[in-house]
């Protein structure tokens, strides 16, 4: 082997060895860089809308459930589920009638009605209030039947309800509703409080619960 070739092979071997030795470092560097890129991703997804569910039980077991779902994820995954009544992100309902109530007609009526109180019941057992207020449908129930009161408050943007009923007849469009929900600001959708449990469903831009 000539000196020139020997030098060439030596250099090649040196470069190859250096590359091999440093390649794991490259992998490590990528791993080390991962948190940084994760932070970037977290920041980039911070504009995303998250649906949070929190259930706190104050019974002996003291159970707490926290669920955080990105709305975009739900929007993309729901259409992939085709099972029973759920197809393409839509749920089939029977003739849009529930206990002989035409839901679609009811929604149409509420949509076209001005803000106001639709139902107000006040009794010794419970208080019920159904109202449309600032483009939100509000349902408030206070159960006073036993000594331990329970309270339910549901506040759904009208745009979400519209989107939910925007599919064809006898269908609820869940994906459209989620999409409409993602356009809303931070808001509490459901709140249930009784002597044992507290349930909260809300929407914000954080990917962790408090």
């Amino acid at each position: 082997m000539s000196d020139r070739n020997r030098a060439f092979f030596s250099r090649t071997a040196l470069i190859a060895t250096a590359a091999l030795v440093f390649s794991p470092l490259g992998v490590l560097a990528q791993s080390a860089a991962a948190p940084a890129s994760s932070t970037q991703s977290t920041t980039s997804v911070s504009k995303d809308r998250w649906l949070h569910v929190r259930v706190i039980s104050s019974d002996a077991k003291g159970e707490t459930v926290r669920v955080n779902v990105p709305l975009e994820l739900a929007e993309k995954v729901l259409p992939a589920i085709n099972k029973n009544r759920l197809h393409d992100g839509k749920v089939k309902i029977d003739d849009a009638h529930v206990n002989d109530v035409d839901l679609r007609a009811l929604v149409d009526a509420i949509r076209t009605t001005k803000d106001g109180e639709f139902v107000t019941v006040q009794s010794n057992d419970c208080d019920v209030r159904v109202a449309k207020q600032s483009n939100h449908l509000i349902v408030h129930v206070l159960d006073k039947q036993n000594s331990k009161k329970s309270e339910v408050e549901v506040k759904i943007p009208m745009k979400v309800i519209d989107a939910l009923f925007s599919a064809g007849k006898d269908e609820l469009d869940l994906v459209a509703a989620l999409h409409a929900l993602s356009a809303q600001g931070d808001t509490e959708l459901v709140s249930v409080k009784d002597h044992e449990n507290t349930v909260r469903v809300w929407l914000d831009s954080k990917n962790v619960t408090d």
Binding site: T64, N68, A80, N207
Partner: protein
């Protein structure tokens, strides 16, 4: 001199193979059952090895698995695709006096932890590994 070259070649190959194998991270499964005869499983598998190993699975078994998973595959595919956008996020947490269940993403890996008095289960799986498995099952489902 010849021995040195051989050692260099072998060493280099091992380092390269190691780097290639570990590039996608490790699938980690830890199961500890605290009862008489309970099992203790601790498994570390390079994620990059999963698609390679799947190529050696007999076609009839892959087809069977694809058929079994046919309904779930599109959902799994969509979930994995979307989860990639959330490399660090907590999705589910259930805590009570005795148990703690958690499902979250950490550094692009899906992490499931179950801590109960009678058992502990910890699973850490890079999304790329789930994606590889899903893709291969989908390919076999199409071919079936």
């Amino acid at each position: 001199m010849l021995l040195a070259k051989a050692a260099l070649g072998l060493g280099g190959t091992i380092v390269l193979a190691g780097a290639y194998t570990m590039r996608e991270g490790v699938i980690r499964v830890d199961v500890d059952e605290y009862r008489a005869g309970g099992s203790h499983v601790h498994l570390w598998v390079p994620a990059a090895a999963v698609p390679m190993v799947m190529h050696f699975v007999p076609s009839k078994h892959m087809r069977h698995a694809s058929e079994q998973a046919r309904e779930a595959l599109p959902v799994l595919h969509a979930i994995v695709k979307e989860l990639k956008k959330y490399p660090d996020a907590d999705f589910l947490e259930v805590v009570d006096r005795d148990q703690h269940v958690r499902m979250r993403m950490r550094g692009g890996k899906l992490q499931v932890d179950v801590d109960a008095p009678d058992q502990k289960v910890h699973v850490l799986c890079p999304l790329s590994a789930i994606e590889d498995v899903t893709s291969q099952l989908e390919e076999h489902a199409r071919g079936a």
